[in-house]
Symmetry: C2
Subunit: 377 residues, 2 copies
Amino acid sequence: MSDSPGPLPDERRAQVVELLRRRGVVRVGDLATELDVSVITIRRDIALLSSQGLIRRVRGGAVLHGGPVADALAGGETEDSPAPQPGPDAEKPQVTIGMVVPSLNYYWPDVIRGVREAAAAAGARVVLRGATYRAADERRHLSRLIESAGIDGLLVAPTTTGDDGQALVRWLQEADMPMVLIERTAASGPYHEAMESVVSDHALGAGMAVRHLVELGHRRIGLITTVQSPTGPHVRHGWRQACEEFGLPLEGMPDVSTVDQWHPEWPKALESVIDQCVASGTTALLVHSDPEAINLVERCQERGIRVPGDLAIVAYDDEVAELCDPPLTAVRPPKMAIGRAAFGLLAARLADPDPERPTHRVVVEPTLIVRSSSVSA
Amino acid sequence: MSDSPGPLPDERRAQVVELLRRRGVVRVGDLATELDVSVITIRRDIALLSSQGLIRRVRGGAVLHGGPVADALAGGETEDSPAPQPGPDAEKPQVTIGMVVPSLNYYWPDVIRGVREAAAAAGARVVLRGATYRAADERRHLSRLIESAGIDGLLVAPTTTGDDGQALVRWLQEADMPMVLIERTAASGPYHEAMESVVSDHALGAGMAVRHLVELGHRRIGLITTVQSPTGPHVRHGWRQACEEFGLPLEGMPDVSTVDQWHPEWPKALESVIDQCVASGTTALLVHSDPEAINLVERCQERGIRVPGDLAIVAYDDEVAELCDPPLTAVRPPKMAIGRAAFGLLAARLADPDPERPTHRVVVEPTLIVRSSSVSA
DNA sequence: TCAACTTCGATCACTTTCGATCGCTACTAT
DNA sequence: ATAGTAGCGATCGAAAGTGATCGAAGTTGA
């Protein structure tokens, strides 16, 4: 060894990478001579750098990832000379998740953001498809995803009701692909084991709304949901349970599953609902979902019914509740947390070597956002 | 050391950083000579500066973040030479979890193993305390853990029933420390929001047992649990639900919550239970938990009642079910998965910068293990 | 197919570097 | 004046890095 000390080990390794970047190919013997160390040291350096995904080791030396030699040999990577991955782990192949949601509007963008955020943090890729709340359409998207190369698992919010929905669920159960249901539940197998799922606790959310209204002194609290909403039954269950817990009257209270605001019958349904509130002395109403709640508030004002003075309103979903005048108190499902938890659950299953990993179901809690439609100024 | 005092410690450290900025790489020996201090002083300086994220320590010296060496090796960082993080903490301190379980026997060792395994994978430390199924004892352990230095979060399976249990839960809710309940649930806050928890789906487990027995042709299925078991009510709920789903008779069927096998009244209770089975024509029995199931099988054999020929038995917990003769079919809660999921949930909360992260609850599915006590040879 | 040559990696010995521990000194607060 | 604390340096065992050797494996040419 020469009089002056050579470079530090990491400094030398950086030189190896730099020389390789310049030349595209390097030889062990050449580097040993240039850097004034033994060939075994250079071999060890190259082995380490390769294991870190920084260069590609070949016999006698190394080549640059993305350089002409590596490109010509693309696809012929070995386990101790892998192709570089953008993820944090050079040797870990990138996981690809297929995701099918019933809509790319309204509720779902925040769930999707949660999934993407968690996937980005984990170095995974997400292939997203938006369907249309119809089982047949959903199945078409799912078939294409499953049949396409490279999908490791599925995040899916399938239609589960009706004959078509039940058939879709059975088809999913037989798909033999890791999957997590989002905001849906289903059972499978001879003992009705549940499928893995991540859901909001809508019953608890509705219960929060009822408790909030009871705290404000209300005792006649009604419920409006829209037909065909998968969330509706859970909201109704929670509303009923909480009313029973407080001994509130259910008999004669508005308990309506109505058409949604796009339906031609909506204006009549809206009048009927308000009439029922007036007739029954209802002083507070939980409405799923936001757009219907906003319409209801506007129509009340037109009829001289003050909100919240005469009728306190709590909306559900908190998508656009804030835009109402007055801004609506609302129950907000934890959409981004749902997305993150769904990705996490699927990733845990994909990463778990145990083929008999038990099914996990995750329930995430909504938040009550108190605004002006339930509390007086 | 020269006559005049050297620079102040922080002054010297600033010089280290400045020299590093100029040169890109520095050696410990060189700096020690230049700054007229020992190499150990420079090593300590470099260690401190690295922990502050200002420089990157390598063997023999340091390199500049963003300098040529660091850039060339980017992506190849090791755990003791991490890339600088935007977070407040360049060298993430080890997370320490306190864990209090009601017993270090029977059910809990596998849960503890699950926690330890997940903690080891995450580089976290677990401080374990075994209590005695008494709220006062549990509270004593918890107080000591909370008051001790360095506990970041709690995994706890507290007594939740009785006045003492409810007081313990309220005390936990006010503790202002991240925690996850294991195999327990509790609500808190003005809207009865749930505390974070990881539980086995014992109702589903009981339902699996009933389905299994129905598949074997049984229609008169009884239930035996032991008083004061936190699992018992969930098992009973699932048994009832599944019986109702299949339209099985509940009236007149054994539905007993008995003393456990250590109780002096156990032999009489056992006789009574078997008498009820004979009198009611019960052909199958779900028994929580294993030791009582084994005792029951033995006593049946003594009375000439064949298992499973005359009475099919499914045990619950699968701790020692296999040791029976015949080996018992049993429902096995997912204990290690529970431990892993509990640690994961707490770790996710500790890692999440969002102070309003919603509460997550995880439900994990048991497994039915079919052995000889329910199927004929 | 086989021999010759090149390359690789395991093993061992040696050197360098690191960090825990302990003792000492200087400084500060009481 | 004294106790406590911070900073420093020496010592020593542990860990990391390096080089030599040798058998094994891969490549090439006849």
